[in-house]
Amino acid sequence: MKILVCMKQVPQKDAPLKLNETAAWIREDVSYEVNEPDAFALEEALRQREKHKGEVVVITSGPARSQQVLREALAKGADRAIHLEDNAFVGLDAFNTANAFAAAIKDEQFDLIFTGLQSDDYGYAQTGVILAELLGWPHATIIMQIEKNETGIRVKRELEAGFFQFVDMPLPAVLTIQSGINKLRYATLIGIKQAKNKPIRKVALAEVQSAIGENLQKIERLYVPQKTKKTEHIEGSPAEIAKKLVDKLRNELRVL
């Protein structure tokens, strides 16, 4: 099985974000990390390769800093990487990102493409499904289990409210992976060492430019959300806070 994993670098979960001068994007001088569901997608690809042999390739788009995501993936065991390297990729909508990926892999032959189910920055939850449509492949979303069988794969889709469904589908296919599908591994020292010799193919913006058009949706402005609720701050020492809160629970909320 030859598997491509689409990964993204996103601001760290607790990174304080500030707007940049356009007020349509953030200042990029923050700490970054791997988009969490993408880490699970990578882990699943590595596990599938351990079972069925083959190759795991990771791809990302973004400026030089985003190479870190690929380095980590290679250290965990991915075989090689593709980096669409340009700052311009950060501002692409899901439709254009998927188009750029499709163009970058046009000479490859994958059996499976994994993405995380959504990104922690834009949160569109679309790139994987769009990529499937561009490639003409079937897809399934929010996947919690993957088994290979004679005709293709059987996947377990998570539905809402605790429901699940198995779906049989042919290969090649695109799957969006849910967090928690597996247990993540850590990179080993030897893995980190080996990663240094693994190939990263750089793809310049110009190479995929013809596949990208104007964004079909435009962020007009970004802002700190207006509060809809009046929030009362409870302050003081922990003991004072405990007293004040218990008073509320007892006398106002009446649950004590």
């Binding site: 601001p11 979960k13 607790d14 304080p16 974000l17 909508d93 899901a94 439709f95 922690d120 920055d121 949160g123 939850a125 679309q126 499904v129 769009i130 449509e133 889709r157 998570e158 539905l159 809402e160 409210a161 605790g162 699940f164 469904q165 198995f166 779906v167 049989d168 589908m169 967090s179 928690g180 104007e214 964004n215 079909l216 949706q217 435009k218 962020i219 007009e220 970004l222 802002y223 700190v224 959300p225 809809t228 609720k229 009046k230 929030t231 009362e232 701050h233 409870i234 302050e235 922990p238 003991a239 806070i241 405990a242 007293k243 218990v246 629970l249 007892r250 909320l253 649950v255 004590l256």
Partner: protein, 331 residues
């Protein structure tokens, strides 16, 4: 012809999803702001059965898009059927609820038509004739107003709870229903879905809980869960968690609150070390009173909290548990 808004409602397991009415409300609000005509569509093997219920609402028309191939749901069939409808009817704006099912097919449908979806919106604005859709970004830390930069049809999906389903206006008289037979060729459907099932019986029903103590990443380690459990026990509350805690196996999956877990509305929801990612918020924002403890003063959970305690939960919770015990012992 005036511009049209088409709301595609969702039916699953023989029922219209509750969020469908929320999307109708959203459609009615956008129609009122823009002067556009509002229509609705039901898609499925037996869509006509649900059409009358939708036609009772204030909409100009309801399409029942039918084919035996739409049952069970597959993204291939749904995208094919809706593409035919949209190509024939040419609505300006297509609205859907942001459910797992819609997420599964709407990016495919839009891409097949060379269009984009503004997904998971929480509201809209109509400014100087321009329609903007508001959505959360960076896990709810920021909000964005997003516009379409393409020809119609425009696609937007609304987050669960963004509008009130019970505010969907009824029509003066039932709207006309047009049944549309979807033509889905052999070979279009590639996925073979099996029966929908529920994983081992859910042992814990949090939907009836009066008080919930929920823990998030801030709890740091499995052994620290005990700190939250002691508070829950003292309060007589149910213990729950955000997804990462259950993913780690620190608490069983049936204690998970959020889009992939249970949706709750207790009298009091105590969120300990929960940052308030959208996926969690949708499962608990209906709580009557939300108390949040988090060391990050910018955590999105504080946007919806009634009481905010900015501090380290390891400092705050143990004395709180003791105080609760003391008061209970005295009463």
């Amino acid at each position: 012809m005036p511009d049209t808004i088409l709301v595609v409602v969702e039916q699953r397991e023989g029922k219209l999803s509750r969020v469908s009415w929320e999307t109708i409300t959203a459609g009615q609000a956008i129609a009122a702001a823009t002067g556009w005509t509002l229509e609705a569509a039901v898609v499925g093997g037996n869509a006509s059965a649900f059409a009358a219920e939708v036609a009772a609402k204030k909409v100009a028309k309801v399409y029942a898009v039918e084919s035996p191939k739409l049952e069970p749901y597959t993204p291939d069939a749904f995208a094919a059927a809706l593409k035919q409808l949209l190509t024939a009817k040419q609505p300006k704006l297509v609205l859907m609820p942001h459910t797992y099912q819609v997420r599964d097919f709407v990016p495919k449908l839009a891409t097949a038509m060379g269009r984009a979806v503004i997904s998971d919106c929480i509201g809209f604005k109509h400014e100087d004739g321009k329609l903007l859709f508001t959505r959360q970004m960076f896990q709810g830390k920021l909000a964005a107003d997003v516009s379409f930069n393409s020809d119609a049809p425009w696609f937007a999906t609304f987050q669960n709870g963004a509008f009130r389903g019970d505010k969907a206006e009824d029509g003066a008289s039932p709207a006309p229903i047009e049944t549309v037979a979807a033509d889905i060729a052999d070979g279009v459907i590639r996925n073979k879905p099996q029966e929908v099932f529920k994983e081992a019986k859910q042992a814990v029903d949090l939907t009836q809980a009066e008080v919930i103590v929920a823990v998030g990443r801030g709890i740091k380690e499995q052994k620290n869960i005990e700190i939250a459990k002691q508070l829950a026990d003292a309060l007589g509350a149910d213990l729950a968690a955000s997804r990462p805690i259950c993913d780690n196996g620190w608490l069983p999956m049936d204690r998970q609150i959020g889009s992939s877990g249970q949706t709750v509305a207790p009298k009091v929801y105590l969120a300990l070390g929960i940052s308030g990612a959208i996926q969690h918020i949708v499962g608990m924002k209906g709580s009557r009173t939300i108390i949040a403890v988090n060391k990050d003063s910018e955590a999105p959970i504080f946007e919806i909290a009634d009481y905010a305690i900015i501090g380290n939960l390891f400092d705050i919770v143990p004395p709180l548990t003791e105080e609760v015990k003391k008061v209970k012992a005295g009463s």
